[in-house]
Symmetry: C2
Subunit: 343 residues, 2 copies
Amino acid sequence: MISEMPPGRAPSIRDVARLAGVSHQTVSRVLNNHPSIRDTTKARVLQVMEDVHYRPNRAARALGNGRSRTIGVLSASGSHYGPASSIAAIQDAAREAGYYVNMANLSAVDPESIEAALTHLMSQSVEGIVVIAPQVRVFDALEHMAIDVPFVTMQSTGRLDEHTLSVDQIAGARLATHHLIELGHRDIYHLAGPQDWIEAEARMRGFLDEMGAMDVPTTAPILGDWTAEFGYYAGREMLRVRDFTAIFSSNDQMALGLIHAVRDAGLDVPGDVSIIGFDDIPEAAHFWPPLTTVRQDFAELGRRCMALLLSSITDDQPVDYRDVITPELIVRGSTAPPSPYFR
Amino acid sequence: MISEMPPGRAPSIRDVARLAGVSHQTVSRVLNNHPSIRDTTKARVLQVMEDVHYRPNRAARALGNGRSRTIGVLSASGSHYGPASSIAAIQDAAREAGYYVNMANLSAVDPESIEAALTHLMSQSVEGIVVIAPQVRVFDALEHMAIDVPFVTMQSTGRLDEHTLSVDQIAGARLATHHLIELGHRDIYHLAGPQDWIEAEARMRGFLDEMGAMDVPTTAPILGDWTAEFGYYAGREMLRVRDFTAIFSSNDQMALGLIHAVRDAGLDVPGDVSIIGFDDIPEAAHFWPPLTTVRQDFAELGRRCMALLLSSITDDQPVDYRDVITPELIVRGSTAPPSPYFR
DNA sequence: TGCACAACTGTGACCGTGCACATCGAAGCG
DNA sequence: CGCTTCGATGTGCACGGTCACAGTTGTGCA
């Protein structure tokens, strides 16, 4: 059988057709599970495919019907735990749906890089785009370039709302803040994420909302960069004044740096300062002290993201994306009532 | 200009050609930077492209010349810091080289999942495959499926050597082990990675080699799963005997869990037990105590990986991949001489 | 002036698949 | 029994590029 194959070229449906004694179109129908193919015919074709190791040519397919079956993922900071987990879930979901995933990593956040990355994805003729851990500028680019494929993002932004799926970051931040207030803290700092980040903004909003609702006076949040390193140096700065008893950090890594700084200053967590994080990375349970934090289900987020995107690609009834994923407070050892000394 | 475009279809080179008053082949040549195109012609064509927002169709291109310009990345545990960093670097390098990156995530490590993921990538007609954080089974699958495109992996395996690029994991592990021995430790445990993992094996090998070379008797390494959680429980088990003064953990996360367990037992790191990790994740400097570890340059690894792969795709002179990246010992606060009590 | 040669551009086939439409035989039905 | 309907299959072309090859100029040189 195989000897009948022309050499030096992968078998095409016509080769398969010839060997199976049918037309290429019949082979095509077998490939696409067309209903009206006689079982015996189908079996024969499948057998030949097996024999010659036939693999459909995706490029030809895409060219023929204009569907690339590829979705693009635009990710900044893809090496962080949260985004990376979501990406993995997205890939699984995509593969399950028969889609391919093309990644574009954003090393810098200047408009040129963003446009370059989007152009890269568009030139792939992706059918949809997922924006991970988005920054405001990405949306500017998205609007500016008049991207004509569906896209979703994983955070709430206030605009472009039809494209948004999101963990309720605001609720999560309120949860964290409320926990601190409930413990008796009044002098609470918020170490936020970078200014440009939408999720940082949402968490900050949640913090401020809750503080306001509980009638606790607030100071301006400090803008960080998500890294433990920044948390450490920010902590050292903050400890020069020590006018607080608790810090709500916008992610777990910065919380780790804060703990380090507090301990370096000879103080105790949570004895002198309570610290709460956000995300619940797997390591958080093993920090010292184990970190009180807010858990987000990144994988579920990724899955829902894909579901939303796929439904808007295929124009099915849209899934209800307003069903936000509620984050969960995980109380561990890094928070406690304020020390009497401070009261 | 734009009004001359037929509606409902993206402009093709023939549309551009017509509007620019040239043949479609000339447009193609402009696209591919063919040298012999008159500058004025080129400018005219480019202008028309701009006007009609022409975007080359990648599928058609791939179909025409059989080159997909796509490379596949097969990654297990893509949400870990190391692999994720390498992946980001790979994506950057690929984009720079004009390649697209297709990801396949490996959620499970059974042969079926591996084959499914590889099939997925192959059906994309990728021109090359990068295997990240590979396990032995992945290689079995690679051999078994007779993958006919170049592939590289990021760890040394002993077989398939022409495809391998690697941080010298063995040297790194020896570095870590030597550091402990030099401090005076003799009773050293090794908490290794999962059995199936090639890099876990290499680190274990390095540990055993160095122990042997320094004539220190060893006990059998404990096989872990890379997580802090496992490190914690392994640590608790180990502390029931306490016949050691130092532990070399195969990665930083498990080291974190170990520290947690040691402290839970009322002991001090490094006073009672020295702990050294591997990888130098960004958080390691802010553990308590800051973790002594071995740094790997994941990004550089990713870049070299792509360089190797691209050179074997284009059949250029191969880069010298034997120029392994040497890991670096980072001494922080989690290691110290053994306590007199133990001597 | 003629000729070789390079620079530049055009023509038509082809890549592998899906689609629209045609065909053909068998079954259903009045 | 002829007509319709439907299931199963075949025919030819389109998709948007690239490739091989074939012109068509212009230029240098004998």
